[in-house]
Amino acid sequence: MAENTTHTNKDSDLGVKLPFFGIPKILPYIRPYRTRMMLMILLGIGSSLIDSVYPLFNRYALNHFVAGKTLDTLGAFILLYALVLTAQVADNFVTTYWCGKVEMGVDRDLRNASFNHLQTLSFSYFNQNNVGYIHARVMSDSGKIGELCAWRMMDLVWNGSYLVSILVMMLLLNARLALYILLLVPIAVVIITYFQKHLVVLNRRIREINSTITGNFNEGITGARQIKTLGIENRINTDFDRDTEDMRATSVHATHYSALFTSLVTMMSMFALAIVLWKGGRLTEEGLLQIGTLSVFMSYAVGMMDPIQNIINTISALIAIQVNIERLTRLLHTESDVADTPEVIAKYGDTFQPKKENWEPLYGDVEFRDVSFRYPDGDEYVLSHFNLKVPQGTNVAIVGETGAGKSTLVNLVCRFFEPTAGQVLIDGRDARERSQLWLHSNIGYVLQTPHLFSGTVRDNLRYGKPDASDEEIGRALRLVSAEDVVRKMGGLDAEVGEGGDMLSTGEKQLLSFARAILSDPRILVLDEATASIDTVTEKKIQDAIKTVIQGRTSFMIAHRLSTVVDADVILVVHEGKIIERGTHRELMAKKGYYWNLYSRQYEDMAADMV
């Protein structure tokens, strides 16, 4: 019962702690940018030094022009200022632009890497992780890490060097006064860290509630029909109001902290100013400190809180990003439990660079030889020592109750999973001796829930055979009686909408049938495909199937027993295991489980037939 997997991996690893904030784990992805990043660090230090130097201009102006009552060096002063300003502007432009480049570069590389890696992962990964979770890894983790490598790093460098340089500057200008102000630094650090910690926790909680509320909106809209037919608008509404009230209360609670926090930090810088006025004023009065220098001290004292706050913010951001690093690298390091061996790749190519010239034709002989199997996330064997020969052209039908595990065999044939023990042979050779792509390129597959990609009808039909001509497409459509569907939509160039939502399930199914047979596959897999089509349409499809499975090996999972009576072999699955096999006639004669299933389905009808 692979479909009943619980997805609990969402927030279980929020408190993750990695050595060095997990940065070593992403180093390989930063390598291409390391030279640029080194230069950025240098430029950032330069920029912060320039910034810390500015008050000195003010000091000079005060000491020399204002106090000295002379304008003799004004020209040189303006020139120097202009030079420094130009340097700073140039420096900042390059730094921010490069930051953007590095950020987007790392982001892009990680996104490509994770997306491409996902293309090689086996189904057990997708069964164990839901789409939303994986999607967030590709789309948002990469962005966060890109941001880390550029902006966060620069924040640390810039603010760190700015803080150091103003502290050094103050010590150089007047060590005694500087020491008084330095006393405030540890206090500030303690206060900021304390609040930061609380706010991180509260903000996480707010985000959680927020996503619940978004989920509620989604539920109210996608579940509208259900809500209306049940008449439970009130109940849903009350629950919603409870969530928004929770959100409001939590947010206001968080503001008590954040408001106190910002107020305290600004107050601290004003205290620093007070200290300068008190101690510095005395020094000035005693003639030990020039008026310009006093003014510089005031600027530094007030400006000191910003870098401290920024550094602490950045560190808490680093802590938060660890989760993203952990999750993304976990994805990137997940090894597919269905992988081609190096020898196979050498000969047949991998998923992205197939060596089609070495591909043998596939004829469609399938054999299960002593196959035992359990799902990677299950602990019970669903097949043990299973043997079955399916010569090419054989039609295999798989029947059983809902959730009995009918998909297992199909998953093995398609090599979506590999046997735990034993072999699946394709044309007499172990499936693992040839590449997955080779096999998949030769299989036609119709899903239980049809899936179309946004794009035109033609794009979708040609999915398995990109070079198919319109004639071929037309032929495939005729075979499955889907011409009407396409005509109704307005031809092959009509858009099918996101996930094919312009079409009904039945129509999507018809199109996915056409898609599956377009590439003329030797093996055809039909996974409960006929479940939601009405009888008349289904009859059309079945007639078509009868034609298309001629000469092809086919595996059909079906609900309705009437659709399987013609099959060469029927496999009866019960509670995950194959309990009977044979032709319809043989199984009926056996009067076992199949017979029971069959007669029960028709008992009402039989009573009437007399």
Binding site: F126, G215, L277, F352
Partner: protein
């Protein structure tokens, strides 16, 4: 109360039938009207926030003044130019300049005291802003949600889910930021500028003029730039959406990608889009960097002008050292707010679009009333308790076609359909895809309204258009083919429509729906979370949950809209047998593809392309040798093969 319902219902019917003007007047004709509607209960917080923010600005202005005074009149010997009242204060209470000269700590204490006072005001500014902002968001969300779930069903089909959710999340956030960040910030910046201007002008008018010349330049420049870059950001957002959609489709369609061996194609497609997206952002970053540094440049020049001009004034004796310092401090206090002003204004201009997008939802007429009633929850009041209706259901010459703006000549889904379902009997409806079976049921449940002149549907002789929706839907239990499960536990899902359902009721309903065995497989049984955040149920399991959900209500009319399609034949039979003993006197409408599901019904209707093709009992229809017979044989062919 009762008459009020009837009046409302009548008015609604009148509206629908075109007695009143076709286009109902909009509830919120203007943007500001909607904003003020949402602001109810939040406005006073924002007023308090602005008030405290004024206090903060004023207090912030005093520090440079004190510094200047100290430098000039306490340390230096310049006669104080403070207002007379303040000089009096210094002389009377603080012991005069001479005392302060000896005790600079007192000045420092004054600065610290002001800092504490400012901190308190700042705290309240932020707190009230947040309280107002959260109240506003809460009200917006509640009103929107309340409105949305009361919209007619057709509305959901005409509007994309993703789009509506975006309106309810990011557009709501845009409006919140408009009020609680941009509007208040705009006011704060203006207040700050006005205060600073007056304080600076008090020091030196010429210098003030020189400093303020730059302000319009900075604001206009950033306004121009933000407007320009705004569209670039939108394009980048669109690109990101496309990229995200590719990833999403690839993941949801992973089976198809694998089965068709199209990984390389997917990779190429993704990498190409990813590259485009990245390049777009890098270009955008270059623009942004250029903007930021040109802002730095203008600010740097402004500081230079103030410094040089100030120095010249000092040398001329028109400005003292303390005044120079104070002026310089005021000037630097203005730098960042002024630089942010352009951004704030340009962002505010975007809010209009978001307000209109929300207005669109709030102006869509709800199902019950063409004109939405003020706040109170509509469905709750006036509810006539326990007045379930039952009786013969009669479809009387019903014709219908879906309104489709793109295709006004949409073909009729139903054509002149007439039949009667006697109270307490079971009717089976058989028909192909698109034969109109589900539409018939949607009309009965008034998910879609039957327009005037298209026949009528009655229950117990009463036109359903005249029956209160609450009562109608409470009386009809409908199980959908593709039911939706709420993200709650399995038990809660079953009991969701039945207040006060007991554990035993849940179990009983689950047993009839043949769900009890499935539940036993889950470790947490009825406490198992389902839906988006829980266990993924198979189509058949979902259908059976929905059946239990309907059964627990024991409605007098039960509809199974192809709701056994994903259940295997054996379970199907099991459920039907159990149902027979459970439905009691309920009228049952069964829609199915499987003849076996229908054959025991008291009456069977065969729908073909929107019309009743055949009608009768199983035996009668079999004898008739028509469509029913044909389908019967088709489904039967397996048995005789």
């Amino acid at each position: 109360m009762k008459t009020k319902i009837i009046d409302e219902t009548k008015r609604q019917i009148d509206d629908r039938r075109g007695v009143r003007p076709q286009k109902p007047s909009e509830r919120f004709p203007s943007k500001s009207g909607l904003v003020f509607y949402f602001l109810r209960g939040a406005l006073h917080y924002f007023i308090l926030c602005v008030f405290f923010s004024m206090c903060v600005s004023f207090l912030d202005m005093t520090a440079p003044k004190i510094i200047g005074y100290m430098v000039d009149s306490i340390i230096g010997d310049k006669t104080s130019d403070l207002p007379a009242a303040l000089n009096l204060l210094v002389d009377r209470w603080l012991g005069g300049t001479a005392y302060l000269h000896a005790h600079l700590g007192v000045v420092a204490l004054a600065v610290a005291a002001i800092a504490v006072l400012a901190a308190v005001c700042r705290y309240f500014t932020n707190l009230f802003d947040s309280m107002g902002s959260e109240k506003l968001v809460q009200r917006m969300r509640n009103r929107l949600f309340d409105h949305i779930i009361h919209l007619p069903f057709a509305w959901y089909n005409e509007n994309h889910t993703g789009d509506i959710i975006q309106r309810c999340t990011s557009d709501v956030d845009t409006v919140r930021r408009f009020v609680s960040e941009q509007l208040t910030q705009l006011l704060r910046i203006i207040i700050l500028i006005v205060f600073a201007l007056s304080f600076m002008a008090g020091i030196n008018r010429q210098l003030t003029l020189a400093a303020f010349v730059f302000i319009p330049i900075i604001v206009l420049y950033s306004l121009f730039f933000h407007n320009r870059i705004g569209s670039a950001f939108e394009r980048a957002d669109v690109e990101e959406g496309k990229l995200s959609a590719i990833a999403q489709e690839n993941l949801t369609g992973v089976r198809v990608v694998r089965a068709f061996g199209r990984e390389a194609y997917e990779r190429e497609r993704f990498e190409q889009k990813n590259d485009e997206y990245t390049k777009m952002w890098v270009r955008l970053m270059r623009l942004l960097s250029a903007f930021w540094v040109s802002g730095d440049l203008i600010t740097g020049l402004q500081i230079l002008v103030v410094m040089v001009f100030g120095a010249v004034l000092c040398v001329d004796g028109k400005l003292s050292a303390g005044e120079f310092i104070a002026f310089f401090t005021y000037n630097s206090m203005l730098t960042w707010p002024v630089r942010g002003l352009g951004r704030v204004i340009s962002e505010m201009s975007k809010a209009g679009i978001s307000i209109d997008r929300i207005r669109y939802i709030m102006n869509s007429p709800t199902e019950r009333y063409a004109f939405y009633q003020e706040d109170g929850d509509i469905a709750g009041e006036n509810r006539a308790e326990d007045t379930l209706i039952s009786g013969d259901i009669c479809f009387d010459h019903v014709s219908f076609h879906y309104q489709n703006p793109q295709n006004p000549d949409a073909p009729e889904v139903l054509r002149d359909v007439s039949f009667t379902v006697k109270k307490g009997t079971t009717i089976g409806i058989l028909g192909g895809t698109g034969s109109g079976k589900s539409t018939l049921m949607y009309l009965l449940d008034r998910l879609y309204e039957l327009p005037e002149g298209c026949g009528q549907i009655t229950i117990g002789g009463k036109n359903i258009a005249d029956i209160d929706l609450e009562t109608l839907r409470g009386s009809i239990g409908m199980v959908l083919q593709e039911p939706y499960l709420f993200s709650r536990t399995l038990g809660e899902n079953i009991a969701i429509a039945e207040n006060g359902a007991q554990e035993t009721d849940i179990r009983a309903a689950a047993r009839v729906a043949s769900l009890d065995e499935t539940v036993e497989h889950f470790t947490e049984r009825y406490e198992t979370a389902v839906g988006e955040r829980g266990v993924t149920l198979s189509g058949g399991q979902k259908q059976r949950t929905a059946i239990a959900q309907m059964l627990i209500r024991k409605p007098p009319i039960m509809i199974f809209d192809d709701s056994l399609s994903a259940v295997d034949a054996e379970t199907d039979a099991k459920i039907r047998h159990a149902l027979a003993g459970y439905t009691g006197g309920s009228t049952v409408i069964l829609i199915a593809h499987r003849i076996t599901t229908l054959m025991q019904a008291d009456q069977i209707i065969v729908l073909d392309k929107g019309s009743v093709a055949e009608q009768g009992t199983n035996e009668a229809l079999l004898e008739k040798n028509g469509i029913y017979r044909k389908i019967y044989d088709l489904q039967r062919s397996g048995a005789t093969a």
